[in-house]
Structure formats: structure tokens, C-alpha cells
Symmetry: C2
Subunit: 407 residues, 2 copies
């Protein structure tokens, strides 16, 4: 017996708390683990010994946590140093683990978090520690390798597809030519932008054009594509990734690009830039819409399939550690598109940590302005099902996060 | 007996089709009216004799129409000339009315549409026409006079409040100081921005600050307000209207302001402008989020109260014409906040057409950076209840609008 620490890191998602609920439920039900501590604000909450005892979370609270958006335990952007460069940091952390009788540590996050788990597991092995380290994935971007798709992606995709459908209804009302550019998240991978294709539900032909960051974006070709579409209908809706780059690899939104401390470019404005381009080149009405952070937190329209898998991945992570495993990411492998089936497995952290899974070229059409049927088949199962979110006083009823507001 | 024409105009909303469903249902059930024609693309569809026979819409179809966002019949931005300046236009229209044996015309729109109804009713009276003309209001902005609140506003307010709550969960996760500016629609009236206050649900203290267009926006005071809030918590969320103006009446987003043909300024960018101001003045992380057109079309999170009232206003419009009334807007008057009760009445078009209902000064706090309890009491009933939207293949199931896409 020993205790469990769980923490969350990186940008929050709609499904990350479903994974947290899975870890907590798995640990509470486990015969091998005793208490479950939630570290507040990621690994930095472990250093600060800032723990919330989650051992007494009952079924009702776990169900509410399951459908509450964003990171219930808070997040951080702390990057672990290399153990050989800064052994003191690791020594301190393992002392804290010892003080709290920790048998397993679960880190719920994206590839920076998986890098942390890889480092901790490697250090643990070196110092012959019995502690098990497991990663539980999350990222709306779906850009982790070693997993069919990431928890949180399906809910973001459902939000994007539903929003695109509602925007299609909204923009179709006028008879004057009009272009609407919807900017969707995803710096380096086009999965989220691609999911706009799911809005085509039989009567809705939009978005007419889809541009992913995997291919160079040619401004001239874009205007030509628009002209062609405007011959077919007045109302042209376009989905573009925030991360589209020109032939020279320069972001279309280059003026506002600033790098964060992990070296990721912080972007905004591809849509606005293209809006101005369209107005200047075509002299027609053009509007840009940035879906922004609601893509990752609009839990009232979460994908039931996504939340279910996200919780399962948390519980599976606990089970894999119970079997003695360490240094892995809880993962799933798709075994069929239709009917949609999948199996759990352990992902290889060495593969995952700093790699990015891009959209394969063959899932983008030849012209580079749409996706193929393979993409539709891949995406469709991930947005299925709705979560029966309760409402209180007209608002979605989520698990209160007072502890974050008063921090 | 005679037929009915109904049309929709102006910017679409989540609830405008509920009003359309109300008119159609009312006309179908009426003993006084025969066929119901929907004119496509507003009054211009009447000129073009572009009608959809809606007489055979059954209960199932009307229920689906009720919860479908945007203008099912399409919209237009056609402004009727003054009858004395252009009598030929009126003569042509009334010939078409005669050709289709029209007994009543219903126009579902904002104040430009009410202006059209006022002109048609006046002309009708002048030429001794028996045709009845009625306006059925809609606008997310809630800026019409002669009605307690406008159909469509409650759903937009619910979307805004729910999105603000989800943004609050999202932005609360980090421990570093951070300002999030949420830009909300509303050129001249702050009702939509004010509704962000409803996100404060007991545990969520945000938005910390709310700025409406009714008061001048002082950049220096804004920075001082932020500094004070940042002493209380790291994560400050601010709601601002797109229409905020400085001490000289210049839009904060002045660089991108362009007037449309009704003389309304087309704005965007107040949030982005303030984001840059905060970064420059406070040197901390700042993000702006523009809620954009989803405020008026995210029907999957419509207010049940709003849709119910919107349909009732459509049906009431039909009833009022059955009683021989013409030249009015279907309206409602609140009789109590808690319990919330209201009565239907006929609004005076002369008052409505070109007036704007602003937020009263006493519903804004003294410092001008928040709203008062009176505003909360006024807004709260309007976002209550959820609409059981069905889903198909992971997307909200709306009434197909093929006729708009192929136009």
C-alpha cells in the first residue's frame, strides 16, 4: 500500500477532468493504493506540498468533476530540468514523495507533461525507486503520437463542427456575396481545423474550403479558390488553422507571432489577416470569426464518447501501474472505424515526448483546400453522443473551483 | 378569408424562427386566414414573388423550426423609401398583395423592420386597404423600446453567461497574473455585455469588471481598475462591449470602424485594442476573446424562456390582427421579476422605429465598471430553462435550410 498523487498540466481541455475523475475513481477503488492527493497547479504543487485530499470524493462529486471543463486542480507550465544538470530538483521531489508515502504519480497533460513523466521514471529507475510514474494524455490538438487520438480532441471537434453548422445557418441568410473565415486552433497540426468538415450534414455544404497548417498556404491560390466557390454560392464559409504559413514558412498571422518559453509561437490573427486580404482583393463583404478558447472549455456540448474514453484512460493508467508498470502513457488503439472499437495499451514515452503527429498528406485533398473521406471516417466516431449536463439557474452546473479563484 | 405573408429581416438570432413558427402556427390554426406564404429574403422576396408555401408545415416541422437558429426564410437589408418620395414602390407591393389575396403581412425583425411595418400600415391606411400589418420583434441587442426585452436577447444572454462561466474555469488554472478581455456584441446598448454578470454563480467571481457603451470608457481608469483587481486575484476576466467609446465619443476600436448603409458603425476589435493596451501598460499576460456571431446563433444552448416568449409573440401578432388591429408591434410587458410574469400588448411603432433603449444609468454601478442588483434581477428570468435540442450524428439537428444554400 501507498498513496497516489495526481496532477494536471498544460492548457486545459473539456475532457481533462474526466481523466482526473478516472484516476481518482481508479485509485479509490484500488486494493493497492490508499489515499489520493491532488497536487494543485501541476508538478509545482508537489514541490509546494500543496495537496487536496481527494480520497473522499463520492460518486456524485466524481460525476460532476467528469463533466466540468478545464483543469480542476489547476495547471502550470513548469518544465523539468535534465536530471544530470539539476539532480537537486529530483532529490527534493523524491523526498516529498517519500514524506507522503507515494506509490504512484499520475500526470495528466500534453507532450510537455509526458516529457516530465519520462524524466521522473528514468530518474526513479536510476535511484531504484519503487514509485510508478504514468502519463494520462490530454490535448485538444490531437497531435500526440502513440495514441489514435487524444482525450479532449473529440469534444473540441464536436464544438467546432456544431459551431460551424450554426455559423452556416447564420451566414446563409443574405443574398449578397459574403465570405466568412473561421479561425480554428492548432499551431502545427490541422486536426481541429479538419473537424470543421463534420458540419456538412446533408443539407449544409459549408465549409466550402479547409486549410490546414501541414501544407503551405498560397495567398493567390486562396483568392482563386474563393472566386471559384463564389460562382457556386454567395455565401462562402472557410475554415483555417491559426497556424497556416506561407511558402517561406512565415505565419500568415506573422505580425502577432511571439514565442512562449517552450518555443511555441503564440498566434492569433490568421483569420483577421485573411479577412483584410479578401476585402482588398475581392471587394466583397468578409467577416472573420476566431473560435478561441471556447474550443477547449465549452463543456456543455462535450462529446460523450470523448469524456467516456478520457475517464477510461485515467482508470487504465491506474490499472497498468497496479500491474507494476511505470514510465508509460495510458493510450488507446483504434481497431475499427465502423463500428468504432478500440483497445487500451501503454504508449511509449520516448516516442511521444517531443514529437508532433501531423495530418497525413493523403488525408488532405490534392488541391490542398479540403480533407478526404478517410479523414471524415476517422473523425466521425469521436464527436458522437451528448453529455447530460445539468443546469442551475440557467447556467451549466459544474463542480465549483473556489480553490482556484482564491489561489 | 385571405392569405398571410410572413417574412424575416435584419441580423438573424437564435429565437427568430420560434417567432416565425408562432406566426405560421397561429395562421394555420386561424379561422380568419387561409394560406401562409413565407417570403424569402425579407420584403425583397415579396417584390420578387419568391414565396414558400408554409401552410402544410406539420407539428413536427414547426417544432424543429422553433429551435433552429438564424432566419429560416433568409433576410435582407432593404430599407423602404418614404411613400411620398417613391409611391411606385408601394403601388407595386400592394398589387402583389392583391394578386396573392393577402389579408395580413407579418414582418419579423428589428427596428428597421418596424420602420417598414409603420410605413406599410400608414400607406395602407391612406389607400384604404383592409390588409393588416404587424411587426414581430427580434434582436439580440435588446435595444427596442416599447417592449420589456426583445426575443432573441435571452438566448444570447444565456450563451454569453455560460461562455463567461466556461472561460472563468479555463482562465483560473494558472498562478501567473493574467487578464482576459471578452468582447461582447452591442453597438449602442450594453444589455448583452451586462448579461455577463449572470456568470457569477456563487463560486465564480468573474467577470471582475464590466464596461458598457452607455458610459465613456477611460483608458487610464481601466488600467487602474485592473491593478486593483489584480491585487485580489491573479486571474482577471473583463467583459467589454464592442461599442465602448472614449471621452470624445471615439470608438476604442476606431481604426476598424466602417459605417454600413443604415449608418451603423461596423465594429470589431475593442477587445484586441484593450489587449494591446494591457500588455503595454501592465506587462502581463493578456488575451482577448471575441464571442462574435455565435452569440446570435448558438441555438444548442438557447434559453427555453426566450424561445417560448418568441413563439408566443408570433402567435399573439396573428391574434391581434384577427381582432382587426394593424400597424403595431407584438409586445410584452413584465408584471413581476420574481416570480417572473408578463402580459402581451401592442407596441406603438411610432415610438419604436428609430429609437434605441439604452441601459439606464442607475443599473450601472457608480464607478462605471459593473452593473447593479437591479440589472441582475431584470436579466435572470430571461435565461432560464433549456431547450431539448435533438442531435444527429453528433451535431444539433436543425430544420434543413437547403433553400438558402442554393439561392
Amino acid at each position: 500500500m501507498g498513496n497516489v498523487i495526481v496532477a494536471q498540466s498544460g492548457g486545459p481541455t473539456t475532457a481533462i477532468n474526466a481523466s482526473l475523475a478516472g484516476v481518482v475513481r481508479g485509485a479509490i477503488e484500488s486494493q493497492k493504493y490508499d489515499k489520493v492527493y491532488g497536487a494543485l497547479h501541476g508538478i509545482s504543487g508537489v514541490f509546494a506540498e500543496n495537496f487536496m485530499d481527494m480520497s473522499d470524493f463520492d460518486d456524485e462529486k466524481l460525476k460532476l468533476l467528469y463533466q466540468t471543463p478545464s483543469s480542476y486542480l489547476g495547471s502550470c507550465r513548469y518544465k523539468m530540468p535534465q536530471p544530470e544538470e539539476d539532480p537537486a530538483t529530483y532529490e527534493k521531489l523524491f523526498e516529498i514523495f517519500k514524506k507522503y508515502d507515494v506509490a504512484a504519480f499520475f500526470y495528466n497533460g500534453g507532450n510537455d507533461s509526458m516529457d516530465t513523466i519520462a524524466k521522473l521514471a528514468a530518474y526513479g529507475k536510476k535511484v531504484d525507486s519503487p514509485i510508478r510514474f504514468a502519463g494520462v494524455p490530454k490535448t485538444i490538438d490531437n497531435d500526440l503520437v502513440s495514441i489514435d487520438h487524444t482525450p479532449g480532441f473529440g469534444s473540441a471537434a464536436k464544438y467546432i463542427a456544431s459551431s460551424m453548422l450554426e455559423i452556416a445557418h447564420d451566414t446563409a441568410v443574405y443574398k449578397v456575396p459574403c465570405v466568412t473565415i473561421v479561425e480554428i486552433m492548432g499551431r502545427d497540426a490541422g486536426w481541429l481545423t479538419a473537424s470543421a468538415c463534420l458540419a456538412r450534414n446533408g443539407y449544409n455544404p459549408t465549409p466550402s474550403l479547409i486549410y490546414l497548417p501541414e501544407l503551405p498556404f498560397h495567398r493567390h491560390q486562396f483568392i482563386e479558390d474563393l472566386k471559384k466557390e463564389l460562382e457556386v454560392r454567395n455565401d462562402v464559409v472557410v475554415a483555417v488553422s491559426e497556424g497556416i504559413r506561407d511558402e517561406n514558412g512565415i505565419y500568415i498571422s506573422a505580425k502577432s507571432a511571439v514565442a512562449d518559453k517552450f518555443g511555441h509561437a503564440q498566434l492569433s490573427g490568421a483569420g483577421k489577416t485573411l479577412e483584410n486580404l479578401v476585402k482588398n482583393e475581392l471587394h466583397i463583404k468578409c467577416r472573420s470569426v476566431e473560435l478561441n478558447i471556447l474550443q477547449r472549455c465549452a463543456a456543455h456540448i462535450a462529446s460523450a464518447q470523448d469524456l467516456k474514453e478520457s475517464e477510461e484512460l485515467g482508470r487504465q493508467a491506474v490499472r497498468f501501474t497496479e500491474e507494476g508498470n511505470t514510465g508509460f502513457m495510458s493510450s488507446l488503439r483504434r481497431t475499427s472505424d465502423a463500428p468504432y472499437t478500440y483497445e487500451f495499451e501503454m504508449g511509449n514515452l520516448a516516442e511521444i515526448a517531443n514529437a508532433i503527429k501531423e495530418v497525413p498528406r493523403e488525408w488532405i485533398n490534392e488541391a490542398g483546400n479540403d480533407v478526404t473521406q478517410e479523414m471524415v471516417d476517422y473523425l466521425k466516431p469521436l464527436i458522437q453522443g451528448e453529455v447530460p449536463v445539468a443546469y442551475k439557474d440557467g447556467l451549466p452546473a459544474y463542480l465549483p473551483v473556489d480553490h482556484l479563484f482564491n489561489a
